[in-house]
Amino acid sequence: MVNIDVIMKQKIIILAALTVLLVLIIFAVKDFFFSKPGNSNPYEFELDKVRTGDTSMAVWAETHQFKTTLEEIHGITTDASGTIYISGKDAVEMLDAEGKETGKFPVEGTAFCIALNQEGNLLLGMLDHIEIWNNAGKQLSRWNSCGSDAVITSIATRGNNVFVADAGQKVVYRYDKKGNLLNKIGLKDPATGVPGFIIPSAYFDLGISNDGNLWVVNPGRHSFEKYTFDGKILTSWGKASMAMEGFCGCCNPSNFAMLNDSLFVTSEKAIERVKIYNADGSFNSIVATPDLFEPGTKGLDLAVDKQNRILVLDPVKLMVHVFEPK
């Protein structure tokens, strides 16, 4: 009797132990063949939420998309006839106001920015130096290098003056038409109140307003600074914020253009958006929201043509977005 009990007990123990073993094996098999790695991230950073803008506030609408044939594009400008010039890797392309290609000529290297002077010739910023070309594709002159650390990101001209923004050395140069350096603008100087440019990445834009002063973006401070041509700082405005009214990220706006000589059209990276500010720095309106661009698009260069359309250069989709008021 006792013996049978012992045997029973033993059997039960074996059975229990074996069951545990088998359960473990079944668990492993199930885990290996039938489980899917979860697609939820407990630490999700919902970038998409930040990237969607309130389109109801947009008073501008995209009306055209002009494709470019260049393989890498960086700069855009327009002239009085409505021609659009796009600069990029190894070439400059010209489109008419309808977006049809009217010309294209090769350049050596990458033209990171482009501007037109009064004579209708093109000034190209080639990383460390300026080249002047006519629109038939002939190089007219080539200026000396601004230095081995130079990264030229923007050019603007007015009269005899050529302003060149050098993001690498964090300074704006004022040249005459011949390429002679007149003065440097924006070097930090506590005496005159010039704060100095903070440029964490290679986006550094400038432009000239109709009152004959120079506006320079100080991206690291998320602000616009207004200088006289001699380099005296007059005023500045700008607010760092992820919200619509401010400039987001570490360094923004990346580019701007003047509209009607008094409004600022600005573009940002990180949250890809194009907005308009009044001359006093107050927020005016939204032009383009992030959903129009690929995430991570950087360097949306801007231009305003003679019909007051806003042209946005999209270096990822390789096209120009054209905006007109609704």
């Binding site: 990445s201 760092a240 992820m242 990180a270």
Partner: protein, 216 residues
């Protein structure tokens, strides 16, 4: 009878031994010899092959797991799937790439109203990033290594809004160098690979030795 048995045994033993020797030989030979390096004279850490045939490879070196930040999509599995808690993968700050921004995308939540070190403004779930004023307008951000759980939130923020100086890396003093890394097999971006233990880290944007001139 007994003799035949012994003989058969001997035969089998010999065969197995030869087999083992051959396998060892082939593997050892291969790990010294093989590789598809293009230079053939000195190592430029080209990363094309993790069994390159250059001098240091001749010593049977060991391998470690390496995360390629360029491939990483910040899915969060580095925090959850490591056999260690907290994960051996941590955010690593590549100072040489940092913009020292006031409005740091890796430090602050995107909807932050006023920039401050208040806990509710911090993106990091464990407040592992320390912000220190350097000089106007620069701030230094440092990872408090023991606190970081490798969730990649700051990495995503920094690469979206900043220079991408915050990157995930396997921290090899913590990593157990599992024979099969538990994160590697679930990493959706295939960012993990075995690399020689002599070059364990891979930072994006700069060579492993930060050089002032090459940043980006």
């Amino acid at each position: 009878m007994q003799n035949r048995r012994d003989f058969l045994n001997l035969l089998c033993r010999g065969t197995i031994l030869t087999g083992l020797a051959a396998t060892t030989g082939v593997l050892a030979y291969r790990s010294v010899k093989s590789g598809n390096c293009e230079l053939g004279s000195s190592c430029s850490n080209c990363g094309k092959s993790d069994n390159c045939s250059l001098t240091e490879a001749v010593l049977y070196r060991s391998t470690v797991w390496q995360l390629d930040p360029a491939k990483c999509i910040q899915c969060g599995r580095c925090a959850t799937n490591c056999v260690m808690t907290p994960s051996a993968v941590k955010a690593t700050h590549v100072f040489a790439m940092c913009g020292y921004c006031d409005l740091c995308g890796g430090y602050l939540k995107p909807d932050t109203k006023n920039i401050s070190t208040a806990a509710e403004n911090q993106l990091c779930p464990t407040s592992a990033i320390k912000r220190k004023f350097v000089e106007d307008p620069f701030y230094q951000y440092t990872i408090d290594e023991p606190l970081c759980i490798g969730c990649a939130k700051c990495v995503k923020g920094c690469s979206a809004f900043g220079n991408g100086s915050l990157q995930l890396q396997v921290h090899h003093d913590r990593c157990k160098n599992c024979n099969q890394c538990a994160i590697a097999r679930d990493c959706p971006a295939d960012a993990y690979s075995r690399v020689p233990a002599s070059k364990p880290y891979l930072l994006q944007g700069i060579e492993s030795k930060p050089d002032d001139k090459q940043i980006g």
